[in-house]
């Protein structure tokens, strides 16, 4: 059924149709509308049996999800930003224990400086936590990926993070095609736990493991992630067959066949990039885009195959490894090792700074004219940075960066006395 709906409500719809038995959450923007929508359904009895547990922190949210999943329940939670960091220890437990929890991350920047807007710093910080990471480029895909995520998680017994751009998608009203409950039921079988805390058949989940076995238990996470590289495209094609639309998978190319320049990105910025690709194609520029839909496990072979014939690759990413460069860019270079392809990392959209077509046009023009270096920062106010660096070396007590820069930009009034 087609509906014009907020992204968060579309995700709540999808999650509810997956019939989770335990939902535990702590509210944090921009994820809050999702769990509000789910809590309403539980309260009204529309989602039953399901227990909605309001917890006192994100650490507790993930801990409850771990407990619920270990007890054999289908468990779901959602978070963002600081909330994801606060549950970091429990994230590693969920993946290390092999518990198929599904979590939405409504992508948001990390403080300091405190900022509620979108970028990928939060989920990228947990890229090596052992969770599978899927990135949605539209509200339709956000909805669809949750249905696929439960199936994937439970087939592998691994947790899955569905990353949805905060505000840009979670708070956007877009057209979505909501599946029928029977379709979801047919696609997603009832949860059959691989391991379960059962008084009738007691086991220990979370045993202490010494040097004799830690490596092997840990390696199993890697083996399962590699297995996911086969399952994700299969589940995506089963989904397409059942629901009649293509969503998810490992990577998706757009006009890449003969492209000499390919722009790589994750999430909601892909649509904006594709619009600019179309404009440039009309001018005869051989340019395309590659969306990485699944960042963990990393689809090395698919990325290599998609980019191997391009001479130039621009990796546009909403997070970076400070002191190094792009995160996705490092992974792209790994996929292209030995090939004569130049890779340019472009950090963009941090803390909610809009990534506009105007800026992308200028960026791609620079790239096509070979003016782009290995690492650049889209729309960074360099003059502002330079002046702050000068203030810091001028002696005295220059004060905090954030306040100095806000003052310079006229966002806050001068200090009161």
């Amino acid at each position: 059924m087609l509906k014009q709906e907020e992204g968060s409500q579309a995700v709540a719809h999808a999650v509810a149709m997956c019939r989770p038995e335990v939902i535990c959450a702590y509210p944090i923007s921009p994820q809050t509308h999702i769990v509000e929508g789910l809590s309403d359904r539980v309260r009204r009895g529309d989602l039953s049996p399901c227990e909605f547990v309001s917890v006192e922190s994100e650490f507790a949210a993930m801990s409850v999800a771990i407990g619920a999943s270990a007890a054999g329940a289908r468990a779901y939670t959602a978070t963002a930003s600081q909330g994801l960091l606060y549950m970091a220890e429990a994230l590693y437990n969920a993946s290390g224990l092999g518990l198929p929890i599904v979590m939405t991350v409504a992508n948001r920047a990390i403080g300091a400086p405190i900022n509620i807007w979108n970028d990928h710093s939060d989920s990228m910080s947990q890229r090596d936590s052992g969770w599978i990471q899927l990135y949605a480029e539209s509200n339709q895909e956000a909805l669809d990926l949750h249905v696929q995520a439960f199936k994937l998680a439970e087939e592998l017994s691994l947790p899955v993070m569905v990353c949805v751009d905060g505000f840009i998608l979670t708070h956007a009203f877009e057209r979505v095609d909501l599946p029928a409950q029977e379709q979801v039921d047919a696609f997603l079988p009832a949860f059959e736990p691989r391991q379960m805390l059962d008084p009738a058949d007691p086991v220990t989940i979370g045993a202490m493991v010494g040097p004799e076995a830690y490596f092997e238990v840990k390696y199993l996470m890697h083996a399962k992630q590699l297995d996911a590289l086969d399952r994700i495209p299969r589940i995506a094609s089963e989904f397409e067959e059942a629901f009649g639309r293509s969503s998810g998978g490992l990577v998706r190319g757009y006009r890449t066949e003969d492209a000499e320049t390919i722009v790589v990105a994750l999430g909601s910025v892909l649509g904006t990039i594709e619009d600019v690709v179309d404009e440039l194609r009309e001018q005869g520029v051989k340019i395309g885009a590659l969306g990485i839909k699944c960042f963990r496990p990393y689809p090395l072979d698919e990325v290599r195959a998609a980019l191997a014939r391009a001479g130039r690759v621009i990796v546009l990413e909403k997070a970076w490894a400070i002191g190094v460069g792009g995160i996705v860019g490092q992974n792209v270079r790994l996929a292209l090792s030995g090939l004569p392809v130049s890779v340019h990392d472009v950090i963009a959209g941090l803390g909610g700074r809009p990534i506009t077509k105007r800026s992308l046009r200028a960026l791609f023009a620079d790239a096509l004219a070979d003016r782009l270096g290995p690492l650049s920062f889209l729309d960074l106010k360099r003059d502002v940075v330079e002046r702050e660096l000068e203030r810091q070396t001028a002696g005295g007590r220059p004060g905090p960066h954030a306040e100095n820069i806000l003052k310079e930009l006229g966002v806050v009034a001068a200090r009161s006395h």
């Binding site: 505000f167 708070h171 877009e174 910025v269 506009t356």
Partner: protein
Amino acid sequence: MRIHGRGGQGVVTAAELLSVAAFNEGRHAQAFPSFGSERTGAPVVSFCRIDDRPIRAHEPISEPDALIVQDPTLLHQVDLFGGLRSDGFVLINTSRSLADLGIAEFFEGHHSERVLRVPATDIAREHLGRPLPNAVLLGGFAAMTRAVSLDAVAGAIRERFPGALGDRNVNAARNAFEYVDA
């Protein structure tokens, strides 16, 4: 299109309702807020795109075809008209003249039939008993741009606000439609 107002005036809801109205007419639409300090009274901006093709872009609207100004006290505080073309539509919630508002000079050279005013707060008070201009202005917007029909706007309002509240908002929107259409 872009909507400017203040927290509490339903700026975000207005863009959402407009997107639902366009959707109900079989078109593609995308509405989203520009979140900032979304406190009651603080300046808030929302956006809506309407197209016959699927909308892929996710960027704010910097060059709007149409603007709704829900709160004229923003006129000299916020860059309301940034990116507006000389043939862009502007609907301002006010009973005062452009000269009174101090923006007559700004609109010299602009297609004057595309800069319209409607006393949406007064209409809202009359129909709703509360100064909530957002749904009212959508009626005026429909009359001004014909981008959506009044019926579609009414349908979107009723979907969101069932019962008497919806009816009152629809009547207020119709009143604004007729005011602008006259």
